[in-house]
Each structure stands twice: as structure tokens, then as C-alpha cells.
């Protein structure tokens, strides 16, 4: 009896803890969403009540009078091109390292792995000088190159693990049939590591989409700002209109939250890929 009552209490405590944590996460996000439909007067007068109506005025203000849509577009461009470039160049390098025996192969993979330990933020000064001389300051292309380069080590690391595990018979039989190395890679081997490409893509896409530091240093003109950086400008301009600010945050969070909810399993697997062996 004693034991049973104890177990019951433990279960109760467990659910109180889990549900409490859930509320602590969801309630602030819910309040952000709701406050975006409110006017300043409502936010001040009735902060916790639901909005009187699903009033979209704040969103209209954002869409028509601010640069937030532009920031969203820029972030999408930078993220999509960086991840595409990253997966293509990363797959090529990982393929060479893991599917061929050649002199210096170990040196080459060490070279890629060394990049894992270098925090590029701390090299921002020389990087700035270099980007300036290359004409890549205040240029989305500059961000794309930086993001691709700094994400390559982890990508090569993740992909070569998967590529190495593929059986050699597959390519041998294709080779006997006279298929070219390129065809073997593109048509036989790479399709087999699609799950790894998704993991490596998410692992790097989320931090690229969310990044604030590199645009802060490299982007100057409003048309080139990305989302995270652009929000600081937006907050400066609308600092007294709380409804618009909440709506702006909701809008900024929306794309990644939607993708996350649809693909939560892959996101969790992808983002924890570096920390789970």
C-alpha cells in the first residue's frame, strides 16, 4: 500500500512538472500571437484577455509600411542558396574522402575536420577586411559564402559517416557495367544517403536562417538586411506601437515554426545530430 501511494504521488508530480513546463513554453508564445491582434490600448488595458477580434491592422501596417517582407525574402534567399551550395560541395568532398583510397586521404579529411573547431566569429576582423577587398560587404553573396564555408566541416563530417557505411558491391557492379564515376555517384550512391542530406541540411539551415551576427557586421543598406538583423531596425522604428511589434515577431517566427511543426521529428534529429553519437 505504502509503495503504491508513493508511485501515485510520483506520477502526479511528474505530470505537474511536465505540464507546467509545457505552459511555460506555450503561454508566452500564445501571448505573443494574441497581442499581435491587439491595439496599444487593449495591450495596456486588458493585457491577458483575448483580442476583441482577429484584427489584422498590425499585419497590414507591417506588410505595407515596413521592410519586414523584404527581410523575410532576403533570409529565404540566403538560407536556400547557402544550403544548396553546401549540400552540393559537401557531398562532393565527403564522397571523395569516403569512397576512394588515395594518397593523402587522411590529411584531406583532417583538413575538413579541423574546421569544426574554429569559431569563425572570432576571426570577424580579418574576415571583414578580406570581404571588403573582395567587394562582398553589404552583399548577400558574401553571407552565402560565409555560411557555406563555416557549415562545410559539419556537413562533410555527417555525410562521410553515412557514405562510408554504403556497401562497395553497389559501385563495383556498376563499374563492371561500364558506368562512369560521375553516374555512379549521382545516380546510385547519393540517392541512398537522402536521410543524411536532410539531417545535414536542417542542422545548418536553422542557424543560418536565425543568424544575427554576420549580417550585423556585413550588411548595411536596408534592402539587404536579413530577418534577425532587420528586426532590430523594425524595433527601433516602431518602439511605441506594441501591437505592431508583437505582430512583427509573430510574422518573423511563423515560417520556421510552421516547418518545424510539420517536420518535428526530422528537426529534432537534425539539430541534435552534432551532440548525439
Amino acid at each position: 500500500m505504502e509503495h503504491r501511494r508513493n508511485a501515485g504521488l510520483e506520477t502526479w508530480l511528474m505530470y505537474i512538472f511536465l505540464i507546467g513546463s509545457t505552459i511555460a513554453v506555450l503561454y508566452p508564445i500564445f501571448m505573443m500571437l494574441m497581442s499581435g491582434f491587439k491595439t496599444n490600448a487593449e495591450i495596456f488595458g486588458a493585457p491577458f484577455s483575448l483580442p476583441k477580434s482577429l484584427n489584422l491592422d498590425n499585419y497590414k501596417t507591417i506588410w505595407t509600411t515596413t521592410d519586414v517582407p523584404r527581410y523575410l525574402l532576403n533570409s529565404a534567399i540566403v538560407t536556400i542558396i547557402s544550403v544548396a551550395l553546401l549540400l552540393v560541395t559537401g557531398t562532393m568532398a565527403a564522397y571523395a574522402i569516403s569512397r576512394y583510397k588515395f594518397r593523402g586521404a587522411i590529411m584531406v579529411s583532417m583538413f575538413f575536420l579541423a574546421g569544426l573547431m574554429l569559431p569563425l566569429r572570432l576571426a570577424i576582423i580579418p574576415l571583414f577586411v578580406q570581404m571588403k577587398s573582395m567587394g562582398l560587404v553589404d552583399n548577400l553573396l558574401g553571407l552565402i559564402f560565409i555560411y557555406t564555408a563555416m557549415s562545410l566541416p559539419s556537413t562533410v563530417f555527417i555525410l562521410s559517416g553515412f557514405l562510408r557505411a554504403l556497401p562497395g558491391e553497389l559501385e563495383d557492379s556498376a563499374r563492371v557495367d561500364g558506368a562512369s564515376e560521375l553516374r555512379i555517384m549521382v545516380e546510385i550512391m547519393v540517392p541512398l544517403i537522402t536521410p543524411a542530406l536532410v539531417i545535414a541540411g536542417i542542422y545548418n539551415a536553422v542557424p543560418i536562417w536565425n543568424d544575427f551576427f554576420f549580417p550585423l557586421i556585413f550588411i548595411q543598406t536596408p534592402e539587404n538586411r536579413t530577418l534577425a538583423q532587420g528586426l532590430t531596425t523594425f524595433f527601433g522604428e516602431y518602439s511605441v506601437n506594441f501591437g505592431v511589434l508583437y505582430a512583427g515577431l509573430t510574422l518573423a517566427a511563423l515560417p520556421i515554426v510552421v516547418v518545424f511543426i510539420i517536420q518535428s521529428r526530422r528537426f529534432i534529429a537534425g539539430m541534435t545530430a552534432g551532440a548525439i553519437k
Binding site: T22, L122, A123, I125, A228, A253, F260, I268, T272
Partner: protein, 315 residues
Amino acid sequence: MQSTDYESVRRARTRNLKLWLALLLTPAALLLIVFVFIPMGSAVLYSLYEWDGLARKGYVGLANFSDILFDPVRNKVLFHAFWNNVKVFVTLMIIQNGYALVLAMLLARNPRGYRFYQVVFFLPVILSTVIVSFQWKLFLNPVFGLVNKALIAVGLESWAVPWLGLPETALPAMMLVNAWHWFGFPTLVFLAAIHRIPTDFIEAARLDGASEWRIAREIIWPLMAPAVTIIVVLTFIGSFNWFEIPYVMNGLEGSPQGSTDMLGLLFYRTAFGSISAGGSDFGHGSALAVLMFIFIFVFSILATKYLTSREVEMN
């Protein structure tokens, strides 16, 4: 005749293979060299010179380093910021990772809604730090903010202080925001580690009548040591590179009264200039970056070594 033919085909094939490998490796290697390795190497070089804006002046040896470490004015700011980073690391280890550990242990018992909790706890992790910082800056606003409105509503008027405006409360508030933002990450890393422990270990202990607390402390905790190592090192790196939350919530100067100043902010001010630091100073900025890199690198290696040796011992 036959054999030389074969030989030449083979040679051509090897040559082609070399070309093929070079083709595969060059784009990635080039990107990495130009945008990561050259800048990282140059940072060391830059720290040995005096700079005037973008122009490099004379070679000064280690003078920039000794200025930062021993000049009375600079040294005070540096150690003040460093001490704040230490506070952040220690606090996050306790409130963020400690909380995550408890949640992971609970989730490992497979409660109803197991998947749902995982998705919810991970939701703040995927949000941009800038969004999270601004969201909580609005919530913590002394007049309009929901936090103080809630405190007043439940009769705690005296608690409704300007959280980000007081030197005693600004840093704790920011650390709580960081914990809200990130706790889902260690939770799911710990959970994955617990799931790798063979279930018969835990089942056997349970059959022997061991309490849940004993199972957690004597079986799960030692066997999840590798995950703990990773989280400690990642939290350390994150704490000593802490930048976005203090920057967005209280600005570049670490206000109020330097109570939220961090090495990351100091580095930015030194490198690119600010009200308090004056114009941009690439020499001292680079020296600070090199020092931070060495410190983080050495600590990470030592911590990994120490924590890994603990793993082996317990297994």
C-alpha cells in the same frame, strides 16, 4: 601488345581518377580556405600590429595583448566582463541543464503525451535568438510588459520592478530568457543518451525494488556521462561567446552599469567602435579574439579530457 594496351588504359584511368578526385574536393576546399582558414590565421597576425581603421600600421609584437591584460583601465573592463561570463556559465549549468536533466529523466519514463512534450520543449530552440530576446524584452517592459502586469494582478506590486533596468536583476532576467530559449536542447540530448542505456539494466534494478531516485542516481546518471560531457562543453562555448541576448535586450554597453557586460560585447566594442570604446581598433580587438579563442579551446580540451576519463572509470 595486349599488355601495353591494358597498361595505358589503366594509366589513363588513374589519371582520370586523380582529376575526378581533384574536381570533387576543390570547391569545398577552396571555400573553406578562403572564408575560414585564411581569416582564422590572419587574426593572429592582425593582433601583432597597430591599426588605424582599416589601415595596418607598425608591428608592435605582443603590446596589444599586454595592454588588454595589464593596462589598469582595460584590464578592469576585461575581468569584469569575464566574471559575468563565468556567472552565466555556472548559472546556466544549474538552471538550464539541471532542469533539462530532470525533464529528460521524466520523459524517459514514457509518460502519456511523450512525443508532444518533446516537440513543445524543442519549439523555443528553433526560434531565432533575436526573436526570443525581443519577445521577452516586450514582456519585461516595466509599464506595458506582461510580467509586471501579472505580478500586479496577483498582488505582488513590490515585485513589479524594471527587470532589465536594475543592475541586480538585468543579468538574472537574461539568463532566464536564455534558459527558456535553450532548455529543450539539453533535454533531448540527455533523453537520447538515456534511451541508449539497455532497458534490462533499469528493469532488473526495478525488479530488485530499487527506488526511482536510486535508479536515476546509480544507473542512469553514470551511464549518460558522454552526453553530459558534450552539454558541458557546448554550454561553456555558448556562455563565453554569449552575445545576442545581452546585445538585443540591453545594448552594446552591457547596461545598466556594466552589469550585463560580456566578453562578446567587449570584443565587438573594441573591434568596431562604440561610445565608450571610441573608434574601431582592429589590433586590440584581434588580440582579445585570440585570447578568447585560446581560453575556450584549452578549457574545452581539458574539460573533455577530464569528463571523458570519468566516463571510463564509471563504466
